[in-house]
């Protein structure tokens, strides 16, 4: 289910609840400062609403809620990562996003069992760089509930 990481691939690093996550730059369109989303009725609780991003109405997901993490107040560091997912764009609210790393194939490892077990968003791989451990999060795992739960049989 996760996109294959090529050597020299750039990844955006962001923080949620004190943990560092990495997402392939190919799945990211841009990073924006936080702006208050307009609520939309009748959607999943982790969908905060929509923002108007330079004329494009973009739905926004609270990644903390999506990962079953405690709520956190909005700060100067809060960012919305705009994910290009299939044909639509979706914003993820994260605590911080201020780094880009270049990842090599040798640094990718399979995530140990039990990582992120509080949520249905599965973390399949991690990046190991010196003292740093980053969970590789995949846009599909977050956005496609069905596929994340039945990812392995589907892809296999």
């Amino acid at each position: 289910m996760t996109a294959e990481i090529k050597t020299g691939e750039k990844m955006i690093v962001f923080m949620v609840n004190g943990k560092e996550y990495a997402i392939s730059v190919t799945q990211v369109k841009s990073i924006e400062k936080w702006q208050k989303p307009t609520r939309v009725p009748g959607v999943e609780p982790y969908i905060c609403g929509v923002i108007n991003l330079r004329g494009v109405v973009t739905p926004v997901i609270d990644l903390r809620k999506r990962l079953n993490l405690p709520e956190y107040e909005i700060t100067d560091e809060t960012r919305i990562i705009i994910i290009a997912y299939r044909d639509i764009e979706v914003g993820w609210i994260v605590d911080e996003a201020n780094d880009v790393i270049t990842v090599h194939e040798s640094e990718i490892e399979s995530a140990p069992e039990g990582v992120q077990k509080d949520t249905d968003v599965s973390i399949e791989q991690i990046v190991k760089q010196e003292n740093r451990l980053l969970n590789i999060i995949d846009a599909n795992a977050v956005l496609d509930k069905e596929s994340s739960q039945s990812a392995v049989p589907d892809q296999a």
């Binding site: 750039k10 955006i12 730059v25 990211v28 841009s30 990073i31 400062k33 960012r79 201020n98 880009v100």
Partner: protein, 286 residues
């Protein structure tokens, strides 16, 4: 006082009577006195005082200008001050004429009293008064200096406040600079995303994006340092203000104490002046 009384019966013998009595008088009076008894021409007897004696001897004729001479010739009682330049101590001299039963002047008695003790008292009182005045002046100098000090301290206090305001301005600016560095970092991130999306042709641009992010990180670190320094300045200024406050309390206490001393000195000065006046008056009344 008895010396001025002429009894009618014994006038002829009054000179003899004085001659007999004179040696005892010094023991009876408080002051140290010398007595001279004269007839109309010369000194008959001179009784010296305990601490001094006039340079005269029996048989010396009446001297022009002596008050005893004046008293006998003018038939009037005379008093005069002899300044201390003459004998080394001030002297008050009194002289009275003596008469026979017909009222004729037959001689006179002169009495010299040393004013040394009173004079000393007067001198001490005057010098005390002078010392007290000097002290009062010195205290008033201290009081002025404390006031000046207090004014300077409030000047320092207001300058410290200005420094604090300037540090606050720096803090405001550093907030702006931090905002700019955040914005630059975001710009760098988005540039890196764009460069990655452009693939091979975006490689050069990705270097630029990295540099922008480095600059942003660098300026953010510096802003952090500026923040720490301004915080340090603020805490130092707070310490300074506390010190100034405690100095102000001390000077207030000093000012109050000096005021109290000043009031006491004024009282002492009044007493010293009073004492000097009393001593002077005592001297004049002799």
């Amino acid at each position: 006082m008895e010396l001025t009384i002429n009894t009618e019966k014994e006038t002829a013998d009054i000179l003899d009577a004085f001659i007999k009595v004179a040696p005892y008088l010094n023991s009876l009076v408080q002051d140290d006195i010398t007595i001279g008894i004269y007839d109309t021409e010369k000194l008959l007897v001179n009784i010296p005082a305990k601490t001094f004696s006039l340079n005269v001897k029996a048989g010396d004729p009446l001297q022009e200008g002596d008050i005893i001479t004046d008293a006998i010739r003018s038939n009037q009682k005379k008093t005069s001050m002899v300044p201390k330049e003459l004998f080394g101590f001030p002297l008050i001299a009194r002289a009275i004429p003596l008469h026979d039963e017909n009222g004729r002047v037959i001689g006179g008695v002169g009495l010299g009293t040393s004013l040394e003790e009173s004079s000393k008292l007067h001198d001490v009182a005057e010098s005390l008064s002078a010392v007290v005045e000097q002290t009062a002046a010195a205290i008033s100098d201290i009081s002025e200096s404390i006031n000046g000090f207090s004014t300077q301290m409030s000047g320092i206090s207001s300058q410290a406040k200005k420094v604090s305001e300037s540090a606050g301005e720096i803090a405001d600016i550093s907030v702006t600079v931090k905002g700019i560095s955040d914005q630059s970092n975001l710009l760098g991130l988005n540039a890196a995303i764009e460069a990655a999306r452009a693939g091979e042709s975006g490689k050069g641009f990705s270097v630029v994006a990295d540099e922008i992010r480095k600059l942003a990180t660098h300026s953010k670190e510096n802003v952090g340092q500026i923040d720490q320094i301004t915080k340090k300045i603020h805490s130092l200024l707070k310490g300074l203000e506390e010190s100034i406050e405690s100095i102000n309390q001390h000077t207030d206490g000093q000012a109050a104490a000096v005021e109290q001393i000043s009031a006491t000195m004024q009282e002492i000065s009044g007493s010293a002046q009073h004492l000097a006046k009393m001593a002077e008056k005592a001297l004049e009344e002799e």
